[in-house]
């Protein structure tokens, strides 16, 4: 029962944004007074690993050495966060003291939190670790609880373990592959009675991935309509699903829904903090804009959001990702979402309602509208009014399966758009003009609309994008008169 001095090196990683950056855990068990030190810029959770590792090793009937144990996390200048270092540190000590064969962890990437009884607990961001391990062609060794998630990573070999003693096992690692299986709509748009024009606008927005604002009195169904969007958007591709699942995994949310291909629908409350919305903290946690990546970000009661919160959305809406700059460096998170918002037309909510009188003053109405701010309004492609529907229609609501047919039209429109090698929402300039294929008469019509509605340059671009998307839905080569008129009807904000 003599202790053995020795050294070991184990590969693991630490999260930076949504990436797992490789980290080498170097363990030295050497002569000297008994000590257990971890160096290399670990946070409090990493320092606390000492107690978990010590207890876990002893609980498993293995020996914790009565020697000087030094653990270095290299590269030393990189800050390391979280509990995922427990398993690699324990493994390093066991290898260094000759209790575990080096070959069982040689070409591996280890990550996992230890319970005091030696059990392995899952860590956040396991998908990021899986992707990094696959890139380095290493076998990922982690908690078996994560099996269903990491199965999604192509060509990954992994070994799920339940207990620290399982680490010396060498049973076959399985190879992962993501298949988008099925996906049922969370909410069918057919269940919403009436609202024919709003449904059409949703379809156009979904087809082009366009930003949408719905204005209407309380209880008119704005939120219900928005919640139907994931059901009519095309299912995510395997690549998209993985991108989004990684973000959810890093944030500690279960990515199983996302991995089925269902686009995320994030509806943060207007009291959400800036950090909660765009991401932040230490370590960086993805915000709602990143959790909505490849899906829908729905802001209900848009004017109630703080001005600084709304302004912070400009960068992600423009760049499709969010860049957080901090002392340790730049961290980029994906944030390619479809922006959907709902607002009341005035503080009381009933401006323009045929049956209920608005009690707001002119001043309060304009103050309310101004709170959204030009820069955000400028990025809205489709703005439409949603009115309360007739009670008679309401009672005739039926369980339709409209979402399925609507989605098939959306998928077809996107297929046409894909032949242009540029997503509709990114079309601009001459490419957009070329894509619209307008004849001289139509060009004059665009000019008329722009002049009458006082459209800015950006307004005209957005009008044409919407028109092009409508033409895609109608499988039309060129943008026709009726497409343009419909697009012009979605420019409500110029009139308010």
């Amino acid at each position: 029962m003599s202790d053995r001095c020795g050294q070991a090196t184990i590969r693991t990683g630490t999260l930076q944004g949504v990436d797992a950056v490789p980290v080498e855990v170097q363990v030295d068990v050497g002569r000297g007074l008994p000590a257990f030190r971890i160096v290399g810029l670990g946070d409090v959770a990493v320092q606390e690993a000492r107690e978990r590792v010590r207890s876990a090793i002893r609980s498993c009937g293995l020996r914790f050495p009565d020697c000087r144990v030094t653990v270095n996390l290299a590269p030393a200048p990189l800050r390391k966060h979280g509990t995922g270092f427990d398993l690699p540190i324990a493994a390093g000590i066991l290898v260094a003291t000759g209790q575990v064969d080096e070959n069982s962890v040689g070409r591996s990437w280890l990550t996992g939190e230890l319970a005091l009884d030696g059990g392995i607990r899952p860590v956040n961001g396991i998908l990021s670790h899986a992707i990094a391990a696959a890139r380095e062609q290493r076998v990922l060794v982690c908690s078996s609880d994560a099996d269903h998630e990491i199965r999604a990573v192509d060509s990954l070999h992994w070994r799920g373990i339940n207990d620290l003693v399982d680490i010396s096992g060498t049973e076959v690692a399985v190879q992962g592959h993501l298949r988008i299986v099925s996906q049922e709509c969370t909410m069918d748009i057919g269940a919403i009675a009436g609202h024919m024009s709003a449904k059409r606008a949703l379809e156009v927005a979904a087809a082009g991935g366009l930003n949408l604002l719905m204005v209407g009195p309380p209880g008119s169904g704005k939120t219900m309509l928005a919640r139907c969007l994931p059901g009519i958007l095309p299912p995510m591709s395997a690549v998209e699903a993985l991108e989004t699942a990684v973000v959810h995994s890093v944030a500690g949310l279960s990515p199983s829904q996302v991995l089925n291909g269902t686009r995320p629908f994030r509806a943060p409350h207007h009291a959400s903090t800036l950090r909660g919305l765009v991401g932040g903290g230490s370590p960086v946690r993805p915000g709602e804009v990143s959790l909505a990546h490849n899906g829908v970000l729905f802001l209900d009661e848009l004017p109630e959001f703080g001005p600084s919160t709304l302004q912070a959305l400009r960068q992600p809406m423009e760049d499709r990702r969010i860049t957080l700059v901090r002392a340790e460096g730049r961290i980029e998170l994906p944030a390619d979402f479809m922006f959907v918002a709902a607002a009341n037309p005035c503080p009381c909510g009933y401006l323009g309602d045929p049956s209920k009188h608005c009690t707001c003053t002119d001043g309060s109405i304009s103050r309310y509208a101004n709170r959204i701010g030009g820069p955000v309004m400028d990025r809205i492609d489709i703005c439409l009014r949603v009115d309360r529907i007739d009670p008679g229609l309401m009672m005739n609501a039926k369980d339709g399966s409209e979402s399925v047919t609507m989605r098939s039209r959306v998928v077809e429109a996107r297929r046409i758009a894909d032949t242009r090698n540029c997503k509709n929402r990114f079309l601009s300039g001459t490419v957009l003009l070329g894509a619209c294929n307008l004849d001289p008469g139509m060009l004059r019509h665009v000019e008329d609309i722009a002049r009458n509605a006082h459209l800015s340059g950006r307004g005209i671009t957005r009008l044409m994008r919407v028109a092009r998307t409508i033409a895609d839905l109608e499988t039309s080569e060129s943008v026709k008169h009726e497409h343009l008129d419909e697009a012009a009807s979605y420019r409500l904000m110029e009139s308010i």
Partner: protein, 120 residues
């Protein structure tokens, strides 16, 4: 029985116990002017430095509780001094604490804490 005598008796008992469980006691009451190590023993190749605490009552807690962080630090300093003065370089070093609670004239309860603390 005064305090010194009680302490010595406790250390005798601890030494007897350690030898019974297979350790080799190499030194007792190794002292410098800054303090003393009660027992130095060998467990295979591991050097074991033992602090013995004997108590007659539980009024002030268990005997082992008396080995406070300050006392641990002093023992660590003493251990360094011991290693330096003897010049040995053991493969592993361990700090053990033995707590003895005297129950009656001929009965006592002994608890042996292996690796009770370390340098960090």
């Amino acid at each position: 029985m005064d305090k010194q005598e009680l302490g010595r008796k406790g250390e005798d008992a601890a030494t007897a116990y350690l030898e019974r469980v297979g350790l080799t006691v190499v030194e007792r009451n190794w002292s410098t002017k800054s303090g003393e190590i009660d027992i130095v023993a060998l467990d295979g190749e591991t050097l074991v430095l033992v602090e013995v605490k004997t108590r007659r009552s539980m009024r002030t807690g268990t005997p082992e509780e008396a080995v406070s962080p300050t006392k641990q630090k002093r023992l660590i300093r003493l251990a360094r001094a011991y290693l330096a003065s003897t010049g040995i370089e053991p493969l592993a070093v361990r700090f053990d604490v033995i707590g003895i609670r005297v129950l009656s004239a001929d009965r006592a309860l002994l608890r042996h804490h292996r690796s009770a603390f370390d340098v960090t």
